[in-house]
């Protein structure tokens, strides 16, 4: 559900504005908005505050960069105490120094990685030329050329030898060594006098010579290779030294930098909050929303700090539009994980319907009907338990693990209804019999069940649409007529095929003929198209049957592999592999289609997106966590 909000106005003497903001930041309850009702000046930041804001942003950027470079683990629970200007200045200096150091280490690391990559590029040549280089060393006054012939060029080696002989006669030696990559490493050793002619020949033939990196000295690869190999041995030690230096920095400054980040964020937020107030020469006005249940807490907090100097009053609901109010979803513990599913869509508007409870019921049910296997359900439950154990409370992963639980439970229940345990294995081994019907055989009953569930879901969506449009009677009436006509069509079809008494058919057709013009009058000319689209939406639930049948068929095929392939062991392995693939598909595809059925078919009937998230003005760590909503206050007598 979307919890009720109150809009408050806070009045006080202008000189107390910053103190009030500080207390409000500690309370973390008020979602600030600029005062609108009365024409007031909005205080701008002074030049000094502007300068401070710029410096704090720079410092924050340094802190974020340093924390990221040092891979300091997050620790979002601590709320920093009030930071003095001296603290902020000290943290800004620390951030700058640490960032400079981490940047230097990063540059060093990158240079080492680059150097290592360069040496590794020569790795193949080392092994290929090692044998050849011994030949090079026997020619002290000779010039050596290291050439790589790629692909088809490797076949031109005899031609190269012939060309060299034609240009410089017998004053050369040519050695070759094939590389694992299919290329051919060639060493040409010539006398110093013939070097010029050989270079011209190689240039004309466009044969690429392997350059010797200058950093390793000398023109000869003979001299460079040992140095490069030696360097390859020392690079990991230097990389390790950089890593240790980073760890030392993280140990020394990590906690301090985290505190600095929170404090810098807090100060920046308090500066950003100033222009959200309205001021006169003597007074200030602040406006914003709090959850109605938390109103008293805020009033008590301000009264405790400022007494009667600061006045809090509630702005009547008639004075604000519900679209402006921020939204907090608050659902029972069992439904709360499904807020993750709803949060994939834009937030619902304040005053509209929160679909979370409905998603919490129907999403696992659809999922279970599609998977419908005791074995897969048990594996899913185990997976959910592992995820639950390995995730932290409040994280998306924890929510996902808590969604998996009901999905697995519904899969197991549906598995018993359809008599499936790893396909038909349960029937053969354990004598498991379907309590409802066998999905693999009873295709039409399963299709009817899926469409019937779709009809219930879509009609429920239409009814919720009527409820959410209660403030607009014409729209609500139109949606109501549409819902009634969908029900009439379903009842009419059941009467036509004899499930319901045939006498129902004629009155229903008459009712539909009357309903259509009424629908057009209420909803316009698009109403008939929307009505047909709604019937199409109901048919869309046939996917529950289609995916369910596909799932069971895959499982049956997996089981048949044991007998179909000659060796039993190979058959079992194939069957396990096929079940694994089927399980992966069964976990993924039903999720996508259950989501789609909710987002398109169900939400389309009533969901009003566009809500503003409730973000109370508070400390950085708190604002990023789930908004804190105090429990419903008890009756004064109970409290006493």
């Amino acid at each position: 559900m979307i919890i009720e909000m109150s809009k408050l106005r806070i009045l006080g003497p202008r000189e107390r504005l910053e103190d009030v903001l500080r207390v409000l930041q500690d309370l973390s309850l008020l979602h600030l908005s600029p005062p609108e009702a009365v024409p007031l000046a909005h205080p701008e930041l002074s030049p000094g505050q502007e300068r401070e804001s710029r410096h704090l942003r720079d410092a924050l950027a340094n802190v974020e960069q340093a924390l990221s470079a040092l891979a300091v683990p997050e620790n979002g629970s601590a709320v920093p105490g009030a930071a003095t200007p001296t603290d902020l200045a000290r943290w800004a200096r620390l951030a700058w120094r640490t960032r400079r150091e981490t940047d230097r280490l990063a540059a060093q690391g990158a240079a080492l990685e680059e150097e290592k990559a360069l040496i590794m590029k020569y790795q193949h040549f080392f092994s290929a030329f090692r044998a050849l280089l011994e030949s090079e060393s026997r020619w002290p006054n000779a010039q050596a050329y290291h050439v790589l012939l790629r692909g088809r060029e490797a076949g031109n080696l005899p031609q190269l030898r012939a060309s060299l002989a034609a240009v410089i006669g017998e004053e050369f030696q040519l050695f070759s060594q094939p590389l694992p990559t299919g290329e051919l490493a060639v060493l040409i050793v010539v006398s110093a006098q013939a070097a010029g002619r050989v270079e011209r020949l190689l240039a004309e033939a466009r044969v690429q010579e392997i350059p010797v990196p200058e950093a390793y000295g000398g023109k000869s690869l003979t001299a460079a290779i040992p140095r490069m190999l030696e360097r390859l041995g020392t690079i990991p030690r230097e990389v390790e030294a950089i890593r240790q230096r980073r760890q030392a920095l993280a140990r020394a400054h990590g906690a301090e930098l985290r505190r600095a980040r929170a404090a810098l964020h807090d100060r920046l937020q308090s500066l950003a909050a100033l222009p959200l107030s309205g001021v006169t020469t003597r007074a200030f006005v602040l406006e914003g929303w709090v959850p109605a249940r938390a109103r008293r807490d805020l009033e008590r907090g301000l009264h405790g700090s400022f007494g009667d100097d600061v006045v809090v009053s509630e702005i009547a609901k008639e004075e604000w539009e519900s679209e402006q109010a921020p939204v907090v979803l608050a659902n029972p513990r069992l439904f709360r994980p499904f807020e993750t599913v709803v949060s994939l869509m834009p937030l619902p508007r304040y005053g509209s319907i929160d679909p979370t409870p409905f998603v919490a019921v129907f999403f696992p049910a659809f999922f279970g009907l599609m998977v419908g296997d005791v074995g897969y359900g048990l594996i899913l439950a185990a997976l959910g338990l592992v995820l639950h154990a390995r995730s932290k409370p409040g994280t998306t992963l924890r929510n996902v693990s808590e969604i998996i639980g009901p999905c697995a439970m519904f899969s197991i229940i549906a598995g018993f209804l359809f008599g499936e345990l790893f396909g038909d294995l349960g029937q053969h081994w354990l004598g498991l019999r379907p309590l409802l019907f066998d999905r693999a055989e009873a295709l039409v009953p399963f299709l009817l069940l899926a469409v019937a569930i779709g009809a219930v879901h879509v009609v429920l969506g239409l009814i919720l649409g009527v409820v959410s449009a209660r403030r607009h009677p014409r729209q609500a009436l139109g949606r109501g007529v549409s819902a009634a006509m969908v029900v009439l069509v379903i009842v009419g079809l059941l009467a036509a095929i004899g499930v319901l008494p045939r006498g129902f058919f004629t009155p229903i057709v008459i009712a539909l003929l009357v309903g259509f013009p009424a629908l057009i009058v209420l909803e316009g000319l698009v109403a008939p198209i929307e009505f047909l689209a709604t019937l199409g939406n109901i048919l869309s639930y046939a996917r529950i049957m289609a995916l369910g049948v596909a799932s069971v068929m895959m499982a049956v095929v997996a089981n048949k592999m044991v007998g179909a392939i000659g060796s039993v062991t190979v058959g079992i392995l194939f069957a396990l592999l096929f079940h694994l693939v089927n399980f992966a598909i069964a976990a993924f595809t039903p999720t996508i289609h259950a989501l789609r059925l909710h987002y398109v078919e169900f939400f389309g009937k009533f969901f009003s997106p566009g809500g503003v998230r409730y973000q109370p003005f508070g400390h950085w760590t708190r604002v990023n966590a789930r908004p804190r909503v105090p429990p419903t206050p008890r009756h004064p007598r109970q409290a006493a």
């Binding site: 994939l344 869509m345 039409v444 996917r543 049957m545 996508i592 989501l595 398109v600």
Partner: protein, 71 residues
């Protein structure tokens, strides 16, 4: 009715929408992936857009089942 023709009709009822779905997804997939690279918040839209054409093949499958069951 000739069972071969019935089977062929059922196969066509699945195959043609399957090709249509594949074609639609082949166009939607790259487009939405490119959009997500710039705006990761479009992931929900991506799921919906990729899942929407699958309705064709699913309904084709249902039609095929009806063809096979009714004859």
């Amino acid at each position: 009715m000739n069972p071969v023709l019935v089977a062929f009709a059922a196969a066509l009822a699945v195959a043609i929408p399957a090709l249509a779905t594949a074609w639609a997804q082949s166009r939607i997939g790259p487009a939405i992936s490119a959009s997500m690279a710039e705006k990761p918040e479009l992931s929900t839209t991506a799921i919906l857009l990729v899942a929407i054409p699958e309705t064709m093949v699913i309904l084709g499958f249902v039609v095929a089942v009806v063809i096979l069951v009714r004859t």
